[in-house]
Structure formats: C-alpha cells, structure tokens
C-alpha cells in the first residue's frame, strides 16, 4: 500500500449527495480483473455516453479538472454496495484523497485498506471549497489545488481562509502514514487470537467446531 504523507494536487468538485457505489462503478464491470483498464470504469455511465463518447459536461471530463487526484464531494459519498471495485477504480484513476461531510460506512473502510484517504470535513466548509473550485477558471492549475498534510491532519483548500484540521483515528492514521495494511499487525497477534479462540470455544462451543 502506498504511504500517504503529504499531497498537493488538483481537486475536482463533485456535486450531489448520496453518490452511491453503483454510480462510482456500475455492477457490470465488477466481473473484470483489476488491470490497466480498471480506471476507465470510474463513474463510467457519468463519464461516457451510450456510444462510449466522453460526456463533456461531467466534471472529470472538463479540461480544468481532468486527472484530479482529490475529489471534494457531498454527504454520504460512496453509500450502497460494499463493492471494493469502487475504491479500486478511484485509486487506479489516480484519486488519492476524498473530502466529504460523511461517507458510506463500508466504502470508508475500503478506502483505508487501499491507501485512499477519506477526510471528513463539515458540509458548510466543503460547500465553500466546491464553489471556490468551480470559480477557479484561471489557466494556472494551482488555483484548483488542495494541500493535505496527513501527519498534521490539516487541509488547505480554495474557499477556506485557513488550514482546517480533520479528525482521523490514530490506528488508521498510522497505517496510512506508513503505507502498511493492518494484516501484518493482526498476524503478529497470532498468540492472542489463539488464546481468545480457546476461551471462546469453551464459552461458546456451538460457534467453533
């Protein structure tokens, strides 16, 4: 997993609450292996029309925001299905962080497992950020950039007068900063797991064969 320390990158504003994982990746692509084409499935039916042509109005197809590594979304982003393909295609497109007031529960967890940083900030601030990004039509792309410092848990973005801090659970904070997934840590607790299992088997023998 790629470590996340600091990122300053182009950000795209994504309008609409409750963007579900069926919109992020339609179900018909879930049978695909994760190969070089996977990034094309991201927002597929919003990015491409029925003939496979780019929908020029979609935010990631607009020259000013194409290739954004940071998305600024609205409430309950990634709700719905547990499909991790939603995170795979975001990551493969190049998205490294998503800012939203709230996230779909399973989607949030899936992000953490793939080095994609989900940042919760208040809805009002993010409304301002999205508006500022839309208004930043300057040829200079730095006017559309957001800067994230994960060690300090701060975000500096257009539309915010000063850096905003965000909350991050220390456990996942450390995993993301170091770029390690938690599996190695869990495997190091093999003794504790075996001990628990023994006790659990004796108190709940019907659960463990």
């Amino acid at each position: 997993m790629q470590a996340f320390t600091h990122l300053q990158a182009l950000a795209a504003p994504l309008e609409g609450r409750n963007v579900d994982t069926d919109q992020i990746i339609p179900a018909r692509f879930l049978k695909k292996n994760r190969d070089a084409f996977y990034k094309n499935y991201l927002f597929h039916d919003l990015r491409f029309d029925e003939h496979g042509e780019l929908r020029t109005e979609f935010i990631l197809n607009r020259p000013l925001f194409s290739g954004a590594q940071i998305l600024v979304a609205d409430e309950n982003f990634g709700c719905g299905s547990s499909r991790e393909g939603a995170v795979y295609c975001l990551a493969d497109y190049g998205v490294r962080a998503i800012l939203a007031p709230s996230f779909g529960d399973i989607f949030f967890n899936n992000c953490l497992k793939n080095g994609l940083l989900p940042i919760r900030l208040d809805a009002k601030s993010l409304d301002a950020v999205r508006q500022a990004l839309l208004n930043a039509t300057d040829a200079n792309p730095t006017t559309r950039e957001i800067s994230i410092d994960l060690a300090a848990c701060t975000v500096l973005a257009p539309g915010l007068s000063s850096p905003q801090t965000f909350a991050m659970d220390p456990f996942w904070h450390e995993c993301l900063l170091k770029g390690v997934d938690e599996l190695a840590l869990t495997l190091s607790y093999a003794t504790e797991i075996a001990h628990f299992e023994q006790q659990h088997r004796s108190s709940h023998p019907w659960l463990i064969a």
Binding site: Q23, L30, D74, N76, S82, P170, T186, L187, H200, H204
Partner: protein
Amino acid sequence: MNVFQEPTRRTLFEKIWDQHIVMPRPTGPSLLYIDRHIIHEGSFHAFKDLRAGGLSIRNPKQVFGVADHYVPTTSRDPNDAVTQEIKEVILKFDDNMKWSGAHYFSINDPQQGIVHVVGPEQGISLPGSIITCSDSHTSTHGAMGAMAFGVGQSESMHIMATQTLWQTKPLQMRIELTGKPAAGVGGKDIILAVIAKLGVAGAVGYAIEYAGSALQWLTLDERLTICNMTIEAGARSGLIAADDVVFNYLYGRKFAPQGAAWDQALQAWRQLPSDDGCHFDQTLSIDVTQLAPMLTWGTSPDTGVAIDGVIPDPSCLADPHARQAALAALTYMDLAPGTVLNTIKIDRVFIGSCTNSRLSDLRMAANILRGRRAVVPGTVVAGSMLIKQAAEAEGLDKIFIEAGLEWREPGCSMCVGINGDLALANERIASTSNRNFVGRQGPGVRTHLVSPAMAAAAAVTGHFTDVRTLMGQQ
C-alpha cells in the same frame, strides 16, 4: 475504578461486541473475533490477494461460500451464464472454494440460494454471533439476534486469513415499532417507512436495534426484510433480539447446535436481549398501525411514500441540495410532481432478492396472482433451492406461471443484474429488491421498490395499485 461496580446495562449489540473482543483499545478500532464469514463469487479479489500472499483460510469451518451473484437463473449450469466472462467468474469461485476447504453451496448444490437467505436457513446465522459477508446486505442476519455487517474484499481477505477484523464500535440507535400493521402492510412497507423517516444517511455510524410491540405481528421473514434494508439508511447493522420465533426456526437446522450444545446455546441466547434502561444514543418510535403499502418514487431508497398519495413536489423542499436531487430523480424516473401514484404504469415486475424472496414473500405475491393474469412481463426468483422446492410443493410455481410470470432458479438475479438479468432501457419496474439507484437494474431502468404483494398487484393491473383493493376478491 471500583471493581465492585455494578455491571453496566448494555444493549444487545454491546453484549455481542464485548464477547468478541480479542484486542481491546481505548479508542479507535478493536480487534474482533468473527464467528462466521460468508463469501460469494465476487471474492476473486480477496482470494487473489490471499493466495499471492502465501496465506490460507485460518478456520475453513467458519467460512461459507455461496454462489449467488453471478449464477444464471435460467438453469443450474454455468454454461448457461449470459457471457463467457460471467461463466469464468462462477468457475473461478468453484476453484477458489475447492482450494479454501470451506463449505461450499455451489450452483448445483440442492441447498444453494442467496447468501442472506442461506445463512439463516442452514442455521449458519446464530444469535449472539458475529457474521460478516462481502455484501452490504449482511445486516439481514441481524434478525437472528446476531451482529452482522458487510465488508469489502480487503476486509474479507483479512477475515479469511485471521478470523478477526478491526472494527470501530458504532453508536446505538433503538427504533421502537408499535401497533399492528393493517392487512396488506408488512415488513417491506415498515422498513421503507423507516428509511423515509431517517434518510439514506440518517443512520451512518449507527447500529439499529428494532424493538416494540409490533414485532409480535411480524414473521421472521419480515424481520429479515427489515434488517436487510437497514443498511439503506446508512447503518452498519440492524438487529432484533432473538426470541422463541428465532429459536423454533433454528432448531434442527443443519449448522445449528444439536443436543446438549443446543440447550447450552439457548441458555446463553436468552441472556442477550438489551438490558432494561440501557443507553441508546438515539431513539425513534414508529406506529405501524398508520402505515399504508409503500413504494419509492425516486433514485434512492429513502423516497418511499404511501400508495394513496401523489409524487411529491420538489419545489416544496427548502434545502436547495435536496431540491436539486429530487428534480434530478424525477427527470430520471420520468415522473411529474402531483402524479397520482396508482395511475403510474409499469413495464415489468421483479419478485426476488435477499430482501423479498422467502416463502412467505412468494405466498404473499401468489395470493394476489391466484386466478389472475399479469399484464406485463415479470420474473419470480425464489431465494433458495429449498424455498423453491417448498413453493412448488404448495403449487405456487403454477400460480406464477399461469399468471404469465417466469419462475426461475435461485440467485441475486435482477436485484443487481451482475448475472445479466436486466430490465430493458427506459422500462419502469415494480421490484421487491432493495435499491432503486440510477442504472441499478440496467441502464436507464426506472426502479420502484415495493413489497411482493404490491409487485403482484402492479403486475395484474399494469400500474401501481393499492394491494388492499385486490385482497380477497378472487
């Protein structure tokens, strides 16, 4: 800390949580022991990581594979998959399950079905246990008095390798259901009303326990429907304390405890209900007596309205974001504000899915369809081979077929359409499934979520109809 402190009053969820902590942490996630993990064909990502990492399934007897998402519903032969690519996903699962050593309900298994139907039916889903599955509707199993939640592929791989998962404890919400539902109103209508009240993000960060006097009027199938769609309000889990209805249902099932172990389990299960006076972070009460049959009008599951109403007017919404979303939904659904709901014509019905494919769901639909003809095409997909068999023993299949509907083999089918069972572009469908998202049942397809009885009523009239007007008239 005073060691002689009285034990704190805990919720059902908290009791289960506490019994499964392998590594406690004061803040953030704790390492929890997972009793049962269920996977489907979409697990190929998890298996790839597992096998590439030189890992194996730690406890194969606590992992169950069920082929449901990609299987054809026209036959029990993977060669009948709609495309070669889909067939390969099914065969890949066969291969991975063989490698895993875990119990496998393959496409040919006489006990195959939809994961969330098979779990309770086989006695895999037990009260007081923690159940995970790589599917968001895992909340279903909470109706068995379990703590159940959906996970992604990385988490699924972690569970298969360690039988544990790092989890942050959710907040606790209690929804009290009071009163008695009217005839023609059931579990699906109740959960659509709950989601409409909470909103699709209203329970993010929560586990919801349902309680109250209305539960006594609901069948176990209806409780499963309610917990199933709890995820659609954003909650991680939905739970109902197990009672004699659950115990009687589980007794003698294949993976349920037997003999002395049953007695011991039963004693433990009876200690699990939430303590009187325990703390909930949020509470809500709904009188189900007042509910009418429901249907959704929009592109998110919280747009449920009573059948005797009209399409709401977005201009009445004060919040500009909500107004914009409602307008976009109406455009996609090709509906105008003020339209009387029972005049909206449909093109197709789908009766099935982990939400509504159990025997009582099929009976409910058959009761309306008996002696009548559907005027639109439709598909009925039983939730499991055992349910299909039981339905056929009662002659329900004949009722569906004589009404002009297709009677198919078990699977997720048109709920998610991954197997190729899709409606046609621009069709309007009355569906007993759980999600009405844009494009969910096929590009351009307009999904209205309803109960099996309401789907049947729409099938025979060709438009949404208050099922109560058709009851007992055949």
